[in-house]
């Protein structure tokens, strides 16, 4: 079953009076439960593609569907419930809310949804990632690896169908990076979620079910599923 689909996506940015084309006629489809890596060099447009696929930005042209629903023309407030329940995000820079503690950051999406079990679910996730003793710490009191583990918990609390991860190990040392990747894969498999991960790292790409390679905004190769 196709959970995420993009058709003929093109996108440009206007910088200093010039139109810079970032994506050019990109089409793709992602199966439910698949681990897809979008690989490319810096500036290839991979993060932009992730922004468009996840509804954080709108394409110049083309359509995007998540779980059968066309999100291309939805406004911010219509996108809000989709972001809250159908999508989970993990960023390279973590983007935890500085004023909230670790546990509060994790609980937040569930609370927004009005989930009465938000606290219990958050506690279980935080325990699972081994940060029970850091649950009341604020983001600035956590290490990079700890922050990313909390970010993963936050992305998973509402059991989304798709998890978007933008260079999730980019700010971490190799040991922490590996641990984060293992954690993401574990959760993805357990919950049957789709994981769309952006990276320039070929080692990470090698672990994916499928790899899409972006070069200058165009999809050049579709590599076969990893063994």
């Amino acid at each position: 079953m196709i959970i995420l689909e993009a058709q003929h996506l093109s996108h440009s940015y206007r910088i200093g009076g010039r139109d810079i084309r970032i994506l050019d006629d990109v089409s793709l489809a992602v199966e439910a439960g698949e681990f897809l890596v979008i690989q490319g060099a810096s500036g290839s447009g991979k993060s932009t593609l992730l922004s468009l696929l996840s509804g954080l930005d709108k394409p110049g042209s083309g359509r995007i569907r998540i779980d059968g629903r066309d999100i291309t023309d939805l406004g911010e407030d219509d996108l809000a419930p989709i972001r809250n329940t159908a999508i989970g995000f993990v960023f390279q820079a973590y983007h935890l809310v500085p004023a909230l503690t670790a546990i509060e950051n994790v609980m937040f999406p569930a609370e927004l949804r009005g989930d009465p079990a938000a606290a219990e679910k958050a506690a279980a996730l935080v325990n699972r990632v081994g940060l029970a003793d850091r649950r009341d710490n604020f983001p600035h009191q956590l290490s990079g690896g700890e922050k990313q583990r909390i970010a993963i918990c936050r992305a998973l609390i509402n059991a989304p169908a798709v998890i978007f991860a933008d260079e999730p190990t980019g700010n971490l040392d190799s040991a922490s990076g590996q641990a984060i990747l293992t954690l993401l894969r574990e959760f993805q498999r357990e919950r049957g979620a789709t994981l769309v991960l952006v990276t320039h790292n070929p080692e990470i790409a090698a672990t994916a079910d499928r790899v899409l390679k972006l070069v200058d905004g165009r999809l050049r190769h579709e590599l076969p599923h990893a063994a």
Binding site: D57, A80, A99, L112
Partner: protein
Amino acid sequence: MSFPMLHKRFVARVIWQSRRQAAIFVLCTVLSLVTMVALAGFSESVRRAMMQDARRLHAGDVLVRANMPFSDGLQREISRLVEETAIEAARIHEFYSLVRAPRTGDTLLSQVKVVPPSYPFYGEVVLGSGQPLVRALRSGQAVVEPAVLERLDLRVGDALQVGRARLTIADTLLNEPDRPVDFFSLGPRVMVAAADLEALDLVQHGSRVWHSYRLRLPAPEMETSVVQRLRQAALAGQEIVEPARSAESRMTRFFDNLLFFLGLVGIFTLLLAGFGIQSALAALLKDQAPTIAIMRAVGATHRFIAIHYLGAVLLMAVVGTTGGLAGGMLLQWMLPALFAGLIPRGLGAAPTLPALLEGAALGMGVVGLFAFLPLYRLREVRPAATLRISETATRRGPAYLAALAAVGIFFAAMILWQIEDQRTGAWFVAGTGLLIGWLALCTRLILAGLRRLTTRRLILRQAVKGLFRPRNATAATIVTLAAALTLILAIVLVERNLDATFVQSYPDDAPNLFLLDIQPSQRAAIAAMLGPRAEFYPVVRARIASINGTPVDREEERRRRSDNLARTFNLTYRGDLLPDEVLTAGSALFRTDWPDEVVQVSMLERVRRLHPFQIGDRIVFRIQGVPLEAVVSSIRERTRDSLSPFFYFIFQEKDLAVAPQTLFAALRVPPEDIHRMQNRVAARFANISAIDATATARIFGRILRRLSAIVRFFTAFAVAAGLLIIVSAVLATRAARVRETVYFKILGAPRRFVARVFALENLIIGLLSGLLALIAAQAAAWLVCRRVLSIAYHPYPGIGLALLAATIVLVAAVGMAAARGILNERPESFLRRQDQGM
């Protein structure tokens, strides 16, 4: 070391990049100056006009006055001067009296002024017909203010009974040089020729009359010797001789007091605007932190950076100061309209160079004072900040304490410098310090409590978290707003309480008709007319000459802004306490164990505010020049606030019975009978003033509301400073708020949710500011009403709640307006900026 070159374009770009913060900085600087410059200029203009036009305002070169008949010695000296030199003297009598329309029998309390043909020596009395006063006001005639005609239904040419004389109204009086139109007056003016003074038969022994002489000197250089000669002849402490240029009139004293108070409001605004300057500059420099960090990273010295940002601050300060001076002048130009009727006609307010220079220095000084700390903290921006996006809390080191101390010292010095009365200044400094200290403490405690608040309501929790955003200046905003609102609410509450006590709910049992200046010989007849309801009190007018052998320093006493020992007191005599009095010191009103020859006096507790009197203190009173030494035998306190007559000093009958005196009667009559009773008294006893206390209270209330409106006008600037701080706080936390908004949106929160969080955050700030102001204002107003004015206090919860609601709405509206752009922030553009290190 070479001086780093100032890149002017860089300075301009800094200001342009952070234009919102720069605008708040400039607005706060403007605000800090507007009231100070306007008031300083206006005050100087009023004083200068009064000094330059002193001769006109006092209608003479030298003023001799007393509120008792002049002593023979002084009269002789004036006569000698007139005979020996070319000095001219005009003897003037002023008093309140009921004038009557013979046709209808209606009466009206009026302020009668009896003047000779030579009045005024300077200035002009403007009459309705346009003719000179000397031609209109002949013997047997009167000129009256239009209000007399309106209220007694009379016309020019009709008869008017003033005392025992029936005069013809010759003209209407539109303006007189030595009295503003609506100045505190219980009745309209009736001007009578001196030739008719005796025929009026109103000036009798002990009557309440303001006696004065206006002298015109043939040459200005005579002034010193004339004043000196007259002062030698005058009775010290009773008869006052002053050159016009330094004479203190009720008007100058009133303006001294009002402008002094408004000056304090101005200083208060200055302080609040200073916080705004500091907050806006901190926000601007926060905005510039990445630029500063990069400059540092590529090798810029702290000196280089400091000079450039100092340049930006100076440029903004100059723009703000110029705007402040312009705004101040504009406001100053509008002030005569605001004070219309309270100041002499035609009194213009022109800005003076010294006032402008003083304003400019003040503006730059305030900016320097409040900009110091944010500029000093520039050194805390590290090159590593280029790599970090998290907020770091600022440390409160010695520089913070030094800046705080400098602000405190600066304002204390400003207040003490502005006023001559050091005691009042010290009280104000202490009061302001106490208020701000209390507000800061409460804010801290409440915020600490809120920080620990656990609630399941997500929006409330997020809003509370938002209060503690780094650089949110929540505490400063609350303290500033609450301080400004306290001032406004306290003034409104005091005004309402005064109004309620004296105007609205005139007590049912309080006397409402007062008869002044009853001669002892008239007592029986008056008693027969008024019936048994009337109570009589003997009144002996006296001044205090010395206390325990130390003469009263009249100059010093007159400088006091409240009651003082230099004024004339009304003494009385009786043997018992009144029903609403209790003794607070002494075993009885008068001691039986003291020898008979000792003159005893019982004083009201309130007198102790003027001097720390004790039982046994010796006070020398001067009754029409005759000294009377009395020993304090007891001290009394009034048990309830009523409008019953009370006296500061009570003697035994044996000691005062033979002193020159009048009687004072007070009685309660049905309100509808007051006018009829006044008419009867005026018809039979022309010398007696029958005053309708409820009407007097209404006039008092009108003036009070007028003054309150003026004060509110100036206090509004302090509120504006508080609101600018809110805007500044939103700007200072813009980056953090944008980040929160984006994160909330990424995690699936709709715009509505973010808007609610921000709105609730502002509502909490408004609610806390309003509540703290409500408590502080109630306490301050209670203190003023009970301790200073000695009237009953009513808290008027409705007014307080209305102010609270208004504060919440205002704060929420301003906060949301400032955050509007933030709510529209799109997640993608924020994330891209983050990725690109912008």
